[in-house]
């Protein structure tokens, strides 16, 4: 087929938003490289329709009901061999991270992962991804021939309006797959014990990162949070270390929040953290590194030592409240 094939992800018949962002990237890419943008979906039972793409390949097999890397790799290998797309695009979800690198390996290719932008190069498209936790950007290019595998990072391509439009014709693809090809046995998804705080409804959040250095300094942050009437939240390393409970973690593997104010203190702003707080109405960041990526999403920024600024801020807030 040449062109672009976007592999959509769905859970229980619902398409996730990142899938539509991948479709948006697919349209952009198809416009650059020529050819059509089609989509594929695994095991949706045929109920899910998507508009605005040339064709929807519905890959149906009993053994695809529960996700396994072995099952997904085997059937997508068959589909890609059959369709011969120039590019295969994925949303950069945890599921895609789990199988897409292996799928690319089967074609002698390397997945260009978590792409945040694309532009035209001298020889074909250039894919931009982040290095060093967002401190640098890098341009990548496919140098092998054969299908090019790419996954796109959350929030990088605008999904508005994608997926609507004329419903695509559905082509059902029945792959060959045997039970013995699937070596792992997945269990049902579950959540840890009940949450005691719901950060998603907190109007003001003070969030702490590794910049606070040690556990004893949480108290200073708690004082600031109390002064502001805020909930205390954290980046992953703080919860990994057990300085605050897991349920206060913000990010792709933690909570998604959208407070009126998100005050990020000593947080660098890695993409996995940003996806959890980008929806905040206002963001203030305090960080000693002027190049920290958190400033990219901050409305107000302070470059400085949090140990000097936080106590002064707590005092000033208390004074302002009288």
């Amino acid at each position: 087929m040449s062109g672009v094939l976007v592999v959509l992800e769905q859970r229980e018949g619902e398409l996730n938003r990142m899938s539509l962002e991948a479709v948006a990237a697919g349209h952009l890419l198809a416009a650059k490289v020529g050819g059509e943008c089609s989509a594929a979906m695994l095991s949706s039972g045929g109920g899910l329709k998507v508009g605005g793409v040339a064709k929807l390949y519905s890959v149906e097999h009993e053994l695809l009901k529960d996700y396994t890397a072995d099952g997904y790799c085997a059937v997508l290998e068959q589909l890609v061999k059959k369709l011969e797309p120039g590019y295969v695009l994925f949303p950069h979800t945890y599921q895609v991270r789990d199988f897409a690198p292996a799928l690319a390996t089967r074609f002698g290719q390397v997945l260009i992962s978590d792409v945040v932008a694309m532009h035209d190069g001298d020889v074909g498209p250039v894919f931009v991804r982040q290095l060093l936790q967002g401190k640098l950007n890098a341009d990548y290019r496919q140098t092998a021939s054969g299908p090019c595998f790419v996954s796109v990072q959350a929030g990088s391509f605008r999904a508005e309006g994608e997926g609507s439009g004329a419903e695509a014709a559905v082509d059902v693809f029945v792959p060959e797959l045997k039970p013995e090809q699937i070596r792992s046995k997945p269990g049902e998804p579950f959540r840890e014990s009940a949450q005691t705080v719901d950060l998603s409804v907190a109007p003001v959040i003070v969030s702490v990162g590794r910049g606070i250095g040690e556990e004893g300094n949480i108290a200073m942050m708690q004082e600031l949070a109390d002064a502001l009437g805020a909930e205390l939240a954290a980046s992953r390393p703080i919860c990994d270390n057990g300085w605050l409970p897991m349920e206060r973690q913000v990010g792709s593997s933690g909570q998604t929040v959208s407070p009126k104010l998100y005050l990020a203190v000593g947080i660098s702003g890695a993409i996995q953290h940003l996806v959890g707080m980008k929806g905040s109405k206002a963001v203030i960041a305090i960080n000693k590194d002027e190049h920290a990526p958190i400033f990219e999403v901050a409305d107000f920024g302070v470059v400085g030592d949090l140990f000097e600024i936080v106590p002064e801020l707590t005092k000033a807030v208390l004074a302002a409240k009288g």
Binding site: L132, Y140, R141, S184, T256, F300, A320
Partner: protein, 253 residues
Amino acid sequence: MKILVAVKQVPERDAQIHVAADGKWIDEDDLSYTINEPDAYALEEALQLKEKNGGEVVVVCAGPERVTSTLREALAKGADRAIHIEADDLGERDTLGVARMLAEAVKGESPDLILTGLQSDDLGLGQTGVVLAELLGIPHATIIMQVEKTDLGLRVKRELEDGWFQHVEMPFPALLTIQSGGNKLRYATLMGIKKAKTKETATFSASAAGAKAVSLEKVYLPEKQKRTEMLTGTPAEIAAKLVEKLKFDVRVL
């Protein structure tokens, strides 16, 4: 149980990063290096599995001479042996190239379990482990928080998005990519550091880099998209300015 842990050496997190003159990578001259954080958790998981089930922990790292310091640290924490794959040209290899190097060194070892970090702090690919498993023809699971040995093989706890988890069972041999936070990291003891000196580090010379499937053409500072209003002054002045913003712009005071 024989466990192999692939560890990568990466620049320290707080390092000041400068783009190299050729624009293809960063200036490595004044950088200090450390173990990739998730790899430290992978090592910890391996050491705890060994303490519970017996066996051996072998650490492997591909890179230039400097990476031996990271291997020594792993030995001091309790790994039994180390393998250094000598490669001065990591930049000339894509994920497939690095994974092939690791696969070559692993084959002679036939471990029951291979652990890698889920992602490296510098390249952030999150792929090397999965590609290695595919090259070796063994099953894998990614973003793993807990590992348990069962009668049939392994039962692991896998992290999903938004605070969800899932258990996955699989037979040996297998490869897991380890997420941070599953365990508490240990420090090397003085005793451990002493003992490490008697432990073996085998060197392996990497075969020549082959053709790449993808190439990194250029690195650069990201362009600022958003205009952030920066507040400056003494800490007290900054605090006063922040309070103004909280009152009149953000309206939370």
